[in-house]
Protein backbone atom coordinates (compact mmCIF):
# COMPACT_ATOMS: atom_id res chain seq x y z
CA UNK A 1 0.00 0.00 0.00
CA UNK A 2 1.33 3.42 -0.98
CA UNK A 3 0.75 6.44 1.21
CA UNK A 4 0.02 8.58 -1.84
CA UNK A 5 -2.80 6.23 -2.88
CA UNK A 6 -4.20 6.39 0.65
CA UNK A 7 -4.15 10.19 0.66
CA UNK A 8 -5.73 10.32 -2.78
CA UNK A 9 -8.52 7.99 -1.71
CA UNK A 10 -9.72 10.32 1.06
CA UNK A 11 -8.64 13.67 -0.41
CA UNK A 12 -12.21 14.82 -1.05
CA UNK A 13 -13.15 14.00 2.57
CA UNK A 14 -10.51 16.43 3.83
CA UNK A 15 -12.34 19.47 2.53
CA UNK A 16 -14.44 19.82 5.67
CA UNK A 17 -11.62 18.96 8.12
CA UNK A 18 -8.71 20.85 9.58
CA UNK A 19 -5.68 18.86 8.52
CA UNK A 20 -2.27 18.73 10.18
CA UNK A 21 0.60 16.70 8.75
CA UNK A 22 4.10 15.85 9.85
CA UNK A 23 7.13 16.88 7.81
CA UNK A 24 8.71 15.14 4.88
CA UNK A 25 6.97 12.71 2.56
CA UNK A 26 3.48 13.10 4.04
CA UNK A 27 3.54 16.88 3.62
CA UNK A 28 4.98 16.73 0.11
CA UNK A 29 2.56 14.06 -1.08
CA UNK A 30 -0.53 15.80 0.28
CA UNK A 31 0.61 19.03 -1.38
CA UNK A 32 1.17 17.18 -4.64
CA UNK A 33 -2.55 16.32 -4.64
CA UNK A 34 -3.39 20.00 -4.22
CA UNK A 35 -2.86 22.35 -1.33
CA UNK A 36 -5.87 23.78 0.48
CA UNK A 37 -6.06 26.55 3.09
CA UNK A 38 -7.25 24.06 5.70
CA UNK A 39 -4.00 22.05 5.49
CA UNK A 40 -1.10 22.79 7.85
CA UNK A 41 2.22 21.03 7.34
CA UNK A 42 4.41 20.94 10.44
CA UNK A 43 7.75 20.88 8.67
CA UNK A 44 9.78 20.10 11.80
CA UNK A 45 9.21 19.66 15.54
CA UNK A 46 8.82 15.91 15.09
CA UNK A 47 6.22 14.45 17.39
CA UNK A 48 4.19 17.61 17.87
CA UNK A 49 1.69 17.25 15.01
CA UNK A 50 -0.54 15.11 17.25
CA UNK A 51 -0.21 17.60 20.14
CA UNK A 52 -1.17 20.43 17.76
CA UNK A 53 -4.20 18.47 16.62
CA UNK A 54 -5.15 17.92 20.26
CA UNK A 55 -4.94 21.65 21.07
CA UNK A 56 -6.97 22.51 17.99
CA UNK A 57 -9.60 19.83 18.64
CA UNK A 58 -10.06 20.86 22.28
CA UNK A 59 -10.49 24.52 21.34
CA UNK A 60 -12.83 23.87 18.39
CA UNK A 61 -15.07 20.99 19.46
CA UNK A 62 -17.43 21.47 16.50
CA UNK A 63 -14.66 21.15 13.93
CA UNK A 64 -13.28 17.82 12.73
CA UNK A 65 -9.48 17.70 13.01
CA UNK A 66 -7.35 15.08 11.27
CA UNK A 67 -3.66 14.53 11.94
CA UNK A 68 -1.44 12.63 9.52
CA UNK A 69 1.35 11.29 11.71
CA UNK A 70 4.16 8.83 11.03
CA UNK A 71 5.84 6.02 12.94
CA UNK A 72 9.08 7.99 13.42
CA UNK A 73 7.24 11.06 14.67
CA UNK A 74 4.88 9.16 16.93
CA UNK A 75 7.76 7.24 18.49
CA UNK A 76 9.27 10.60 19.45
CA UNK A 77 6.13 11.57 21.37
CA UNK A 78 4.55 8.40 22.74
CA UNK A 79 3.62 10.35 25.84
CA UNK A 80 1.49 12.56 23.63
CA UNK A 81 -0.60 9.51 22.80
CA UNK A 82 -1.47 9.19 26.49
CA UNK A 83 -2.36 12.90 26.61
CA UNK A 84 -4.62 12.54 23.57
CA UNK A 85 -6.26 9.48 25.10
CA UNK A 86 -6.72 11.28 28.42
CA UNK A 87 -8.85 14.01 26.82
CA UNK A 88 -10.07 11.85 23.89
CA UNK A 89 -11.67 14.67 21.89
CA UNK A 90 -14.49 13.22 19.81
CA UNK A 91 -13.55 15.41 16.85
CA UNK A 92 -9.95 14.20 16.45
CA UNK A 93 -8.82 11.60 13.93
CA UNK A 94 -5.22 10.43 14.21
CA UNK A 95 -3.82 8.63 11.19
CA UNK A 96 -0.34 7.12 11.49
CA UNK A 97 1.43 6.16 8.29
CA UNK A 98 3.74 3.40 9.45
CA UNK A 99 6.43 2.61 6.88
CA UNK A 100 8.78 1.21 9.53
CA UNK A 101 11.40 3.73 8.57
CA UNK A 102 12.66 7.28 8.81
CA UNK A 103 12.21 7.66 5.08
CA UNK A 104 12.97 11.35 4.71
CA UNK A 105 16.48 10.98 6.12
CA UNK A 106 17.48 7.92 4.12
CA UNK A 107 15.20 5.09 5.19
CA UNK A 108 16.71 4.06 8.50
CA UNK A 109 14.51 1.41 10.14
CA UNK A 110 12.39 2.41 13.14
CA UNK A 111 11.39 0.12 15.98
CA UNK A 112 8.06 -0.69 14.33
CA UNK A 113 10.15 -2.75 11.88
CA UNK A 114 11.51 -4.85 14.73
CA UNK A 115 8.30 -5.55 16.59
CA UNK A 116 7.06 -2.36 18.26
CA UNK A 117 3.29 -2.38 17.89
CA UNK A 118 1.82 1.13 17.61
CA UNK A 119 -1.72 -0.27 17.47
CA UNK A 120 -1.15 -1.99 20.81
CA UNK A 121 0.49 1.11 22.30
CA UNK A 122 -2.42 3.32 21.23
CA UNK A 123 -4.96 0.89 22.71
CA UNK A 124 -3.04 0.58 25.94
CA UNK A 125 -2.68 4.36 26.13
CA UNK A 126 -6.47 4.50 26.21
CA UNK A 127 -7.40 5.63 22.69
CA UNK A 128 -11.00 4.42 22.45
CA UNK A 129 -10.90 3.35 18.78
CA UNK A 130 -7.81 1.90 17.15
CA UNK A 131 -7.40 -0.05 13.95
CA UNK A 132 -4.62 -1.20 11.64
CA UNK A 133 -5.19 -1.18 7.89
CA UNK A 134 -3.16 -2.74 5.10
CA UNK A 135 -5.14 -1.98 1.93
CA UNK A 136 -6.32 1.26 0.35
CA UNK A 137 -9.93 0.04 0.54
CA UNK A 138 -9.74 -0.62 4.26
CA UNK A 139 -7.85 2.66 4.79
CA UNK A 140 -10.56 4.62 2.98
CA UNK A 141 -13.31 2.92 4.96
CA UNK A 142 -11.56 3.41 8.31
CA UNK A 143 -10.82 7.11 7.73
CA UNK A 144 -14.32 7.89 6.42
CA UNK A 145 -15.79 6.06 9.39
CA UNK A 146 -13.63 8.04 11.82
CA UNK A 147 -14.36 11.39 10.16
CA UNK A 148 -18.09 10.77 10.31
CA UNK A 149 -17.86 9.10 13.70
CA UNK A 150 -17.85 10.66 17.12
CA UNK A 151 -14.88 9.18 18.93
CA UNK A 152 -11.14 9.73 19.10
CA UNK A 153 -9.68 7.28 16.60
CA UNK A 154 -6.15 6.21 15.80
CA UNK A 155 -5.63 4.41 12.49
CA UNK A 156 -2.31 2.71 11.85
CA UNK A 157 -1.81 2.49 8.08
CA UNK A 158 0.96 0.11 7.10
CA UNK A 159 2.53 1.60 3.98
CA UNK A 160 5.57 0.98 1.83
CA UNK A 161 8.73 2.95 2.53
CA UNK A 162 8.43 4.91 -0.70
CA UNK A 163 8.05 8.64 -1.03
CA UNK A 164 8.38 11.56 -3.39
CA UNK A 165 11.68 12.50 -5.01
CA UNK A 166 11.74 15.92 -3.34
CA UNK A 167 10.43 17.24 -0.03
CA UNK A 168 10.73 20.99 -0.43
CA UNK A 169 7.73 22.63 -2.06
CA UNK A 170 7.11 26.21 -3.12
CA UNK A 171 4.78 26.86 -0.19
CA UNK A 172 6.65 28.93 2.40
CA UNK A 173 6.26 27.76 5.99
CA UNK A 174 4.98 31.08 7.27
CA UNK A 175 2.64 31.52 4.33
CA UNK A 176 1.09 28.16 5.19
CA UNK A 177 0.86 29.01 8.89
CA UNK A 178 -0.83 32.39 8.41
CA UNK A 179 -3.18 31.08 5.75
CA UNK A 180 -4.20 28.17 8.00
CA UNK A 181 -5.01 30.40 10.96
CA UNK A 182 -6.86 32.91 8.79
CA UNK A 183 -8.91 30.10 7.31
CA UNK A 184 -9.92 28.90 10.79
CA UNK A 185 -10.86 32.41 11.86
CA UNK A 186 -13.02 32.77 8.75
CA UNK A 187 -14.83 29.53 9.69
CA UNK A 188 -15.54 30.94 13.14
CA UNK A 189 -17.05 34.09 11.64
CA UNK A 190 -19.20 32.14 9.19
Amino acid sequence: MLRLDCLRSIYSELERCLVITIMGAVAAELQSLGHRPNFFYLQHAMGLASSTGLGLALCLPDQKVIVFDGDGSLLMNLGGLSTMARYRPKNLVHVVFDNESLLSVGGFPTATGTGTDLDGIARSAGVPRVSTVRSVESFTAAVKDAIHGNELTTIIAKVEAKGPSAFVTDLALLENRFQFRRHIQSLKRA
Binding site: A49, G53, L54, G80, L174
Partner: protein, 170 residues
Protein backbone atom coordinates in the same frame (compact mmCIF):
# COMPACT_ATOMS: atom_id res chain seq x y z
CA UNK B 1 2.65 23.05 52.06
CA UNK B 2 4.34 26.44 51.96
CA UNK B 3 3.55 27.12 48.31
CA UNK B 4 1.99 30.58 48.36
CA UNK B 5 -1.75 30.35 47.82
CA UNK B 6 -2.06 34.12 47.75
CA UNK B 7 0.55 34.53 45.00
CA UNK B 8 -0.90 31.60 43.03
CA UNK B 9 -4.28 33.32 43.16
CA UNK B 10 -2.84 36.59 41.87
CA UNK B 11 -1.08 34.80 39.00
CA UNK B 12 -4.25 32.91 38.12
CA UNK B 13 -6.30 36.09 38.10
CA UNK B 14 -3.63 37.69 35.93
CA UNK B 15 -3.98 34.91 33.35
CA UNK B 16 -7.77 35.17 33.37
CA UNK B 17 -7.68 38.94 32.99
CA UNK B 18 -5.69 38.68 29.79
CA UNK B 19 -8.20 36.19 28.42
CA UNK B 20 -6.12 33.02 28.65
CA UNK B 21 -8.56 30.14 28.13
CA UNK B 22 -6.26 27.14 27.80
CA UNK B 23 -3.44 26.12 30.12
CA UNK B 24 -1.11 23.21 29.57
CA UNK B 25 0.74 21.96 32.61
CA UNK B 26 2.96 19.37 34.10
CA UNK B 27 2.75 19.24 37.88
CA UNK B 28 5.54 20.53 40.00
CA UNK B 29 5.42 21.56 43.64
CA UNK B 30 5.30 25.32 43.13
CA UNK B 31 2.51 25.01 40.57
CA UNK B 32 0.05 22.84 42.52
CA UNK B 33 -2.36 25.64 43.41
CA UNK B 34 -2.29 27.10 39.91
CA UNK B 35 -3.05 23.73 38.34
CA UNK B 36 -5.89 23.07 40.80
CA UNK B 37 -7.40 26.51 40.11
CA UNK B 38 -7.26 25.84 36.37
CA UNK B 39 -8.82 22.42 36.84
CA UNK B 40 -11.69 23.79 38.93
CA UNK B 41 -12.51 26.62 36.53
CA UNK B 42 -15.20 25.63 34.00
CA UNK B 43 -14.13 28.48 31.72
CA UNK B 44 -10.63 27.07 31.37
CA UNK B 45 -9.30 24.13 29.36
CA UNK B 46 -6.56 22.33 31.31
CA UNK B 47 -4.30 19.96 29.39
CA UNK B 48 -2.21 17.81 31.69
CA UNK B 49 0.85 16.75 29.72
CA UNK B 50 3.14 13.76 29.85
CA UNK B 51 6.10 15.94 28.82
CA UNK B 52 6.31 19.70 28.56
CA UNK B 53 7.29 19.83 24.88
CA UNK B 54 3.78 18.66 23.98
CA UNK B 55 2.59 21.99 25.34
CA UNK B 56 4.22 23.82 22.44
CA UNK B 57 2.02 21.87 20.02
CA UNK B 58 -1.08 22.29 22.18
CA UNK B 59 -0.52 26.05 22.41
CA UNK B 60 0.07 26.27 18.67
CA UNK B 61 -3.21 24.47 18.08
CA UNK B 62 -4.94 26.88 20.44
CA UNK B 63 -3.38 29.83 18.63
CA UNK B 64 -4.64 28.55 15.27
CA UNK B 65 -8.06 28.23 16.89
CA UNK B 66 -7.87 31.83 18.10
CA UNK B 67 -7.65 30.86 21.78
CA UNK B 68 -5.07 32.43 24.09
CA UNK B 69 -3.07 29.94 26.10
CA UNK B 70 -0.35 29.67 28.71
CA UNK B 71 2.17 26.97 29.60
CA UNK B 72 2.88 26.12 33.24
CA UNK B 73 6.11 24.29 33.79
CA UNK B 74 9.26 23.95 35.81
CA UNK B 75 12.53 25.17 34.35
CA UNK B 76 13.52 21.55 33.71
CA UNK B 77 10.34 21.28 31.66
CA UNK B 78 11.44 24.31 29.70
CA UNK B 79 14.75 22.56 29.04
CA UNK B 80 12.79 19.51 27.84
CA UNK B 81 10.80 21.71 25.42
CA UNK B 82 13.64 23.32 23.52
CA UNK B 83 13.28 21.55 20.18
CA UNK B 84 9.57 22.32 20.10
CA UNK B 85 10.26 25.95 20.91
CA UNK B 86 12.92 26.29 18.21
CA UNK B 87 11.48 24.16 15.43
CA UNK B 88 7.83 25.08 15.96
CA UNK B 89 7.30 28.27 17.95
CA UNK B 90 10.28 30.13 16.50
CA UNK B 91 10.13 28.60 13.03
CA UNK B 92 6.40 29.29 12.62
CA UNK B 93 6.14 32.43 14.75
CA UNK B 94 3.80 31.03 17.39
CA UNK B 95 3.16 33.19 20.47
CA UNK B 96 3.83 31.28 23.70
CA UNK B 97 3.29 32.59 27.19
CA UNK B 98 5.53 30.41 29.35
CA UNK B 99 5.26 30.57 33.13
CA UNK B 100 8.33 28.80 34.41
CA UNK B 101 9.00 28.01 38.05
CA UNK B 102 12.60 28.98 38.63
CA UNK B 103 13.95 26.09 40.67
CA UNK B 104 17.58 25.63 41.61
CA UNK B 105 18.21 29.29 42.31
CA UNK B 106 18.72 31.26 45.54
CA UNK B 107 17.50 29.33 48.58
CA UNK B 108 17.04 26.00 46.77
CA UNK B 109 17.25 23.06 49.15
CA UNK B 110 16.74 20.20 46.69
CA UNK B 111 20.11 19.17 45.27
CA UNK B 112 18.50 17.74 42.12
CA UNK B 113 17.17 21.13 41.07
CA UNK B 114 20.47 22.97 41.15
CA UNK B 115 21.96 22.22 37.73
CA UNK B 116 18.79 23.35 35.99
CA UNK B 117 18.94 26.54 37.96
CA UNK B 118 22.43 27.22 36.65
CA UNK B 119 21.51 27.04 33.00
CA UNK B 120 17.96 28.43 32.82
CA UNK B 121 18.83 32.04 32.06
CA UNK B 122 21.80 31.29 29.78
CA UNK B 123 19.58 28.97 27.72
CA UNK B 124 16.77 31.55 27.55
CA UNK B 125 19.32 34.12 26.36
CA UNK B 126 20.83 31.70 23.82
CA UNK B 127 17.34 31.12 22.42
CA UNK B 128 16.73 34.89 22.39
CA UNK B 129 13.55 34.41 24.41
CA UNK B 130 12.60 37.61 26.26
CA UNK B 131 12.27 36.75 29.96
CA UNK B 132 11.19 38.61 33.05
CA UNK B 133 10.92 37.81 36.75
CA UNK B 134 7.65 37.40 38.57
CA UNK B 135 8.89 38.10 42.07
CA UNK B 136 6.21 40.15 43.83
CA UNK B 137 2.41 39.83 43.97
CA UNK B 138 2.00 43.60 43.56
CA UNK B 139 3.49 43.59 40.05
CA UNK B 140 2.57 40.06 38.93
CA UNK B 141 -0.69 40.85 37.12
CA UNK B 142 0.78 43.73 35.17
CA UNK B 143 3.79 41.66 34.11
CA UNK B 144 1.59 38.78 32.99
CA UNK B 145 -0.52 41.15 30.91
CA UNK B 146 2.55 42.77 29.39
CA UNK B 147 4.21 39.43 28.65
CA UNK B 148 1.04 38.15 27.00
CA UNK B 149 0.80 41.30 24.90
CA UNK B 150 4.44 40.98 23.85
CA UNK B 151 4.07 37.29 22.94
CA UNK B 152 1.07 38.10 20.73
CA UNK B 153 2.57 41.13 19.01
CA UNK B 154 6.02 39.61 18.47
CA UNK B 155 4.55 36.17 17.67
CA UNK B 156 7.19 34.41 19.70
CA UNK B 157 7.72 32.76 23.08
CA UNK B 158 7.99 35.03 26.12
CA UNK B 159 9.01 33.62 29.50
CA UNK B 160 8.04 34.67 33.01
CA UNK B 161 10.27 33.17 35.68
CA UNK B 162 8.32 32.45 38.86
CA UNK B 163 10.77 33.06 41.70
CA UNK B 164 11.01 31.53 45.16
CA UNK B 165 10.20 34.89 46.74
CA UNK B 166 6.83 34.85 44.99
CA UNK B 167 5.94 31.17 45.17
CA UNK B 168 7.26 29.93 48.50
CA UNK B 169 6.41 30.95 52.05
CA UNK B 170 9.15 29.73 54.37
Amino acid sequence: MPVSLASSKVIYEGLKECDVRLVSALPETWLVHLIRMTDEDPEMILVRLAKEEEGVGVSAGAHFAGVKSAMLMQNHGFLASINGIVSFAHLYKIPLLMLISYRGSLGERDPWQTQGGNVTEPVLRALRIPYFFLDAPETAKKLIRQAQTLAESSMQPVALLLTRDLMWED
